[in-house]
Amino acid sequence: MIRSLLLSAAALVALPATAQDVAITNAKLVIGDGSAPIEGGTVVVRGGKVVAAGAGVAVPAGIERVDAQGRYVTPGIVAAFSRVGLVEVDAVDGTNDRSANRSRFSAGLDIAPALNPMGSPIAVNRAAGVTRAIVAPGSSSNLFAGQGAVVDLGDDMDMVTKPRALQYVAFGEDGSAKAGGSRAATFLLFREQLLAARSYARNPASLAEWGNDAMIQRADAEALVRVIDGTTPLFVRVDRAADILNVLKLKGEFPGLKLVLVGATEGWLVAGEIAAAKVPVLVSPLSDLPDSFERLGATQSNAGRLKAAGVDISVGVFDDDDAHKMGYTTQYAGNLVGLSKLPGASGLTWDQAFAAITSVPARAVGMDGTMGSLKAGRVGDVVIWDNDPLELGSRPTAVWIDGKRQSLVTRQDRLRDRYLTPTEGALPKAYDR
């Protein structure tokens, strides 16, 4: 691909190919854990990891220093729920690995080999400050969609931070359509498949009997065993208030489940129950239309009300273009801050909103010890912004992933540069690069 050739050529010239120790000083430093920005802060990255961040942090001798000149310095944005890396062009089937619609497998599917680190959306999203993404398979013909991954958006071939980091399933209208046309079928199929998996774990030979009834393959059962024991978090798309309560009840029969709610459009109606269950929620915060009967209560205040009830809220953009436009993450978070000024609405503080796009989604997938904040030991994903990162016009001026300085040049930049003047020069545009 043109982009990757150009980028790797550029990398040879200008960018270190491996993790480099760096100290970014004079920063308006955002740790990402919900604490307030620290003026005059420093973050030190060594061996690809954050070793220290805060005010009065000493810069080790001999290490590269970058003066942020008082600008915002933050952890990279974590896309809370996305399809980054699975899609180049949505409507071009061969480039779209979002859903395995004709597969006979379900929970056993693993998206890791479908990810393309050289796809153009990687660079575009990275240039918007997104350094990590929680990537889930799209809903397919079976109830369980399969296993997602946590990825980085670095300019290299090593994309997977953690494979099989989550299992995805949709309840509500989507799940009902797959299970047989009723929510009753969804819950029974879900239960039967988990019971079959549990039986398989105890006695693999039992799958022949259980699996036929539950319409489940061996690979699916193996994946579901990890869901039952909580090794793999179960991300559940669910929106209607009543459906949310029924999903929470699943923990009664399967207490090991680590549930994460995705969407939860009517979550605010049952916020207390979600908080009591200690189940985190990934919201698409600007969804405010009753665009189905399971989302009649949609409001942009959902996130703020859930947060006020004590629920862990992450901000995603999954009801929009979930492969190409992860840059909307900051915009959506910023909207929640704006909402807090509106009479009768509930929003988030700036600090809460920024945590909702960094450390909180990391925690939802059980990886806040690894990523999502500038605390010691986390990955060296650092962004310097030209302005308030939640504001519409702001962009990163520098991005590190795993301590490696990244190219921020995209294919879109190359097209723009070619057509800064639309008319041809001495040669056709095809010669202009």
Partner: protein
């Protein structure tokens, strides 16, 4: 969840394209009346607007930053709204009436009401169930005879969100893009009404939605019908225009014709009464359409979704054709692959008519934010664009594209008093509408739950009357 009709028509079209028997060709349209001996005299406005502005009060907003919609800015400005019109606008020295409702705009911004010239509210209404999917008459590639207003459900809650969150006061509702000639558009005032006639913008010209590129050839190619290629798209278009030219010639000569609703619309385009709103992504295809318009003697008012406008900004400028664009949608289909975030700014740089549009029930709620992203992209590449200049993308330019530049799109005295008071700079992510006036009547007030419309559909449902 809702995805754009234009963006991912696979979903929306699959459903509606599968029902109904298609006419065999554009020529098979049912004739509404029998052959006439005399020249046809038909009513050009058989579904007239019944919209009337709601009662107004003499209104003053003062100490406010004004973007006038034509590129002008007044700091510490004032505006007077009287009898539904902008009465005057000026600086702190302007004389103000003493008997008006006065709003202090300190720290706030005032703009003309936002215009979205590409919306499917009402014809793809929420909830987006099959029963409400009325945007594409995807039973034949040429359906110039259909009128979007006959699909619009005025109870679509999307209208109310666009008002409260986006300050949208005027919208053009278009048929979808499954067809080469999808039918007539309708321009609406964003004032709730029992009937669509009650929302129709009085005196607004009609538009004709056309589409080039992937959608028509995919929809009909997949049915084994013409067009299945881009050359097929052009051929069907040209054959239809040739027929329309002949029909118009008969009309002009006073010769008898069978009444043909599609031909009436196309003749209206050829006579300049109906404005072409042309869905078209790729630069090379826009150039083909421009030549086709020359061949048959009509003008394209605006290219919509023009993601490659930046490649031919000079041509669009020369032809006087507007481009209506997204800030940053890309990659959802092949013809959207070369989108760049600087598209809007590059069109503006060329001096061409630049418009931000939504095509989306969600983004219509924050067209100001979309414009802000486009503005920032322009500034990042070194362009000097002021906030007030950028507001022309939401102001006078979209008004021009739908033929209403004399009535809306800027805050000039005598124009309709469609006005948004924002609680901060509308190019900030932290800003929302504080108040919205339409024809001088206060139709939204963030501080007054009684000035927040609730559609019939949402009455008695969870979250009724919520801030949304």
């Amino acid at each position: 969840m809702r995805l754009s009709i234009a963006a991912l028509p696979l979903l929306a079209l699959a459903a509606c394209a599968s029902t109904g028997e298609a006419p065999k060709s554009a020529g098979d349209k049912p004739a509404a009346t029998a052959s006439a001996e005399k020249p046809v005299k038909f009513n050009k406005d058989p579904y007239p607007s019944t919209y009337k502005g709601y009662p107004t009060r003499l209104t003053v907003v003062k100490n406010v930053t004004i973007f006038d919609g034509e590129g002008g800015r007044i700091d510490n400005g004032s505006i007077v709204l009287s009898s539904g019109k902008v009465d005057r606008i000026g600086g702190p020295d302007m004389e103000l009436p003493t008997d008006a409702d006065v709003y202090d705009g300190t720290g706030k911004y005032l703009t003309p009401g936002v215009i979205d010239i590409h919306s499917h509210l009402g014809d793809y209404a929420s909830p987006s169930v099959e029963a409400n999917s009325d945007g594409n008459e995807a039973t034949g590639p040429v359906t110039a005879e259909v009128w979007a207003e006959h699909s619009v459900w005025p109870q679509d809650p999307g209208f109310t969100r666009a008002l409260a969150n986006g300050g949208i006061t005027t919208l053009e509702i278009l048929p979808g893009s499954a067809n080469l000639m999808g039918g007539r558009s309708v321009v609406l005032k964003n004032v709730p009404a029992r009937t669509v006639q009650g929302m129709k913008f009085p005196g607004a010209p009609y538009g004709l939605k056309m589409a080039c590129g992937e959608n028509p050839k995919r929809v009909y190619g997949s049915k084994g019908r013409m067009p299945s290629t881009r050359m097929g798209n052009m051929a069907v278009d040209r054959q239809t225009w040739a027929k329309a030219a002949a029909y118009k010639k008969k009309l002009d000569e006073g010769k008898p014709v069978d009444r043909d609703l599609a031909m009436e619309t196309l003749a209206g385009v050829l006579s300049g009464e109906i404005l072409i709103q042309n869905h078209c992504y790729r630069a090379d295809e826009m150039a083909q359409v421009i030549d086709m318009s020359h061949e048959f003697g009509y003008k394209v008012s605006a290219f919509h979704h023009a993601v490659e406008a930046y490649k031919i900004a000079d041509l669009l400028k020369k032809e006087g054709i507007c481009a209506a664009m997204w800030a940053d949608w890309w990659g959802f289909k092949m013809e959207a692959y070369d989108s760049v975030p600087e598209n809007i700014a590059l069109m503006y740089k060329e001096g061409a008519c630049t418009i931000v549009h939504s095509d989306d029930a969600n983004q219509i709620q924050r067209l100001n934010q979309e414009a802000a992203k486009a503005l920032a992209a322009g500034r990042r590449m070194g362009m000097q664009i002021s906030d007030e200049q950028a507001w022309t993308w939401l102001g006078i330019n979209p008004a021009k594209a739908i033929g209403l530049q004399d009535k809306i799109g800027s805050l000039k005295p005598g124009k309709m008093a469609d006005v948004v008071l924002w609680n901060g700079n509308p190019f900030s992510v932290y800003t929302r509408p504080d108040k919205v006036w339409i024809d001088g009547a206060l139709m939204f007030d963030a501080n007054d739950p009684k000035r927040r419309p609730v559609t019939d559909f949402e009455l008695g449902q969870p979250g009724e009357g919520d801030v949304k």
